[in-house]
Symmetry: C2
Subunit: 226 residues, 2 copies
Amino acid sequence: MSKPGAQVLMTLRQQIASGELPGGTRLAEIPTAQALGVSRMPVRMALRILEQEGLLVRAGARGYTVRSVTLDDIVAAVEVRGVLEGLAALRAAERGLDQVADTALRQCLADGDALFAKGHLIEGDIAAYEDMNIRFHEVLLAAGGSQAIREALMRNDHLPFASVKALAADKNDLEREFRRLNYAHMQHHAVYDALAKGQGARAEALMREHANATLAYTDLLSGLSS
Amino acid sequence: MSKPGAQVLMTLRQQIASGELPGGTRLAEIPTAQALGVSRMPVRMALRILEQEGLLVRAGARGYTVRSVTLDDIVAAVEVRGVLEGLAALRAAERGLDQVADTALRQCLADGDALFAKGHLIEGDIAAYEDMNIRFHEVLLAAGGSQAIREALMRNDHLPFASVKALAADKNDLEREFRRLNYAHMQHHAVYDALAKGQGARAEALMREHANATLAYTDLLSGLSS
DNA sequence: CGGCTTATTATTGGATCCAATTAAGGGCAA
DNA sequence: TTGCCCTTAATTGGATCCAATAATAAGCCG
């Protein structure tokens, strides 16, 4: 209630991401405003922003509809994330890691090693891995030292499932997740090795491939529009 | 007057791109609204959109300031454009060119050849080359067949000087421009050759390098903030 | 009976008004 | 004289109102 604008934006984002508003749903100002208990103004702002982010598309001259996102869309967005993070890794390797970045990355690797050392995963480990994973990618991006890459990535990550933060782990099959996440973590190790040795091309190629590790195809197939 | 909203947006974009509103300039709603002769509402919309596009940054909790764009920012944005168009080229090569794309690209090459055949450039040729250049990049992007790449590029191109459309030709030194644009056109030829032969990696590498052809460093150095 | 035209309604965009928040400046006290 | 607090002004965000526009439905004419 303190910030209706931000509230509306968050709510709509969440409803779109969660599938509560499936692709193709028409969003008019007045009904949504009434549904959320605010005036039309914050809704208008939110709709414009969500359009800019690519979550909504204009329905002719009359309002917006929720974007229908296909599996191909997600794969393409992940591919884009791959080349962008790859470029960040290339630049980081060429510039060299500074002290704090090096320490942070080593910490990420150690945290991951601790998770996998016991040979299996327990429920809380998924969240711990996600946290470490986000940190790793964030540090790497910062080490790339390019505002343009950061912005392009932030824009790209608006798409549901495309972000690093949405790695869609299946908590019901911890055995399978162990292998998947362990593989991803090994890629982290390899990327760090390449960075430390100044091997830009290798770091880039690894990060490009690593983007695919986010995808858990079978899980994604359910709950997609069109 | 028919469309105050779009008018305000266009005007502000142009004033920012032209340097009439230099980096760091504070933009408050009321003064700009009065200056443009409209109410605060379309200005508010425009400011939000321009913030999303990255042309404005928030000044604390009070209004926006025009983003200061450095030469490094532009180089980084061009680098990002390179990897994105490179990815589009890679995908286009792997998917294969369809009939209309192939024809359109050949037409672009022929148009360019005609321009350079006479051994020198005349004033109107610059505009003709720009037109052909935009067409070439557009067709290639379409051939990549990825909405994610297109969106990432569109967002990246909002930055002044970063877009394909801003190749900053120096009309006072047509001799130098002849060599520069001819080189760029040769890269177009090479990219098409790679595409036609299904050489994805080659096409990608060429497009990545080709992005740099937009930059005319000496011309850009003047008129930049900070 | 069907197509075209017109009228009505739904919906967005713009303007003005109001409240809330923050920054700045001045005054008072130590 | 300086620092802190209080008051005031400026500016943004939200709500309501009004106008313009497009879509839909109904009625009339062919």
